[in-house]
Amino acid sequence: MHALYISLISEYYKSRKTLAFWAAILLPLIICGLISAGFYNNADKIIANHYPPMLLWAQYSGAALGVMGFLIMPFYVIFMAFSVNNIEHKNDTWKMLFAQPLNKFSIYAAKYLYAIFLIFICLFLFATLTYAFGHLLQVLVPKFNFNQYSPLDILINAYTKLFLASLGILSLQFIISLLWSDFLKPMGIGFVGTIMGIIAANVGWKYAYLIPYSLPTLASRITKVKKGTDPLAFPVFTQEIWTSLIYASVFFIIGYFIVTKKSIK
């Protein structure tokens, strides 16, 4: 456990000055900021629609969730899986890392957990900033009715689903980025996979849930459908989420075997 802990600390120490780390903070800040700016500038039009508070929150948080679930989230996950491994490929430091008196599992698991941590931070900030900026809008434009409904449960549910649904992609991309040092292979495979996943999910293919890349889309879509009825009723652990978690565990274990067999040339 100690080896895992110090490997994690080292991952943070290494990456804290890189784009990958800051992307986890800047991405939610920028997207939530832009949406909030849009709401602020169009406040009169939006207020004229007389949305009930719940629907206003749905409009507002759905803007970020929609963009995230469909497009940004898969690519963000692909980029995180890439950058956590690329830091070693680029600097030719795998040999140094595996020559340290640490078990290989800790080194591998720390990288994997750190990638998960970055995704968690990103989505956590999305949820938090959506909530905070909503209330900020309320202060700036008192005519909004954000304060008449608490969207916390729905935000937590939706982002938890998105987080869990993206773990399958993460594990798969993690292996690809571990094996190949170049930028194009993981990005290319990830890009094609994501497009395929989105199409498969949107045409409603029966087995779309078996494609890891479809899962964030599927997860966020079900969230939306249920929103019309009772927003709090949707379950977190649906079929997509279980599939994602199974993929994540299987690929994580395969990745570990690759690491133990890997010769550092």
Binding site: Y13, K14, N91, K95, M96, A99, P101, I264, K265
Partner: protein, 302 residues
Amino acid sequence: MGNYAIETVGLNFNFGNQAIVKDLSLQVPKGSIYGFLGPNGAGKTTTIKILLNLLKSPSDQVFIFDKEINSNRIAILKRIGALVEQPAIYGHLTGKENLVNRCILLGIKKTKADEMLSLVGLAEAASKKANKYSLGMKQRLGIAQALISDPELLLLDEPTNGLDPNGIIEVRNLMIDLATKHQKTILVSSHLLAEIERTATHVGIINKGQLLFQGTINELHLLSKPMLEIEVDNIENASTLLIKQGYEVTTKTEKVITVPFVSSQKSGELNTLLIQNGFTVSSLYQQRKDLENLFLDITNTN
């Protein structure tokens, strides 16, 4: 307890079908500076990677501090510091941050980082990004990383690569210091014999994956037999005369005849013989075959 810090027993290693290391039996005595010599591509770096368990060796072929490497990986790595090929440095971190990161991984005090930076003369460049470092500075940082855990065994792969003459001398002195004052064992690889000759106590010469020579530096010197070089006019006749008189002419060029050196007295007798037969001897001197040539001989004949 054995006397060897590193011992390999008939080590074989292949990349696919290509044999990189063949039947290698290294014996690196504790406290020695072991010069691991060989031309580029001889298998030096591969061997060092095997010693770090970066490349998997067959079981019971590699022993470090008398322990089998595959089954004692972590315990062994705790006692080793290494610099393999180009130093492994994170370019986006400063020199100091690179060392602090190593301290984190090794669980040692971060103050060690500053200590190491001054030791390798990088204190002033501590807060400069490592990708702005010159090749020599990177090499120094790599050495600092290898030394930071105060390991008993150092594996240095071409540590003077890219260093200027001052840097080379510093590294040399540092190695001698570490071995003599701090009882470290150092395995240092190089393709330059002159480099190894000045520091090493023991030498192993490898070519095409095979160990061609292993022994102390003095044993290596003994291999180079002294020769007597004679500059004389009328080379052809002089050489015929010498052969007729029972001398063994090793080589003959346009100006110089070379025969094995036996003793000063024998050299004098040979000189007298030539002069008495009407030859003009312009110079006669003992020549020790230099190790560089010996090295080439050893590596070429195989």
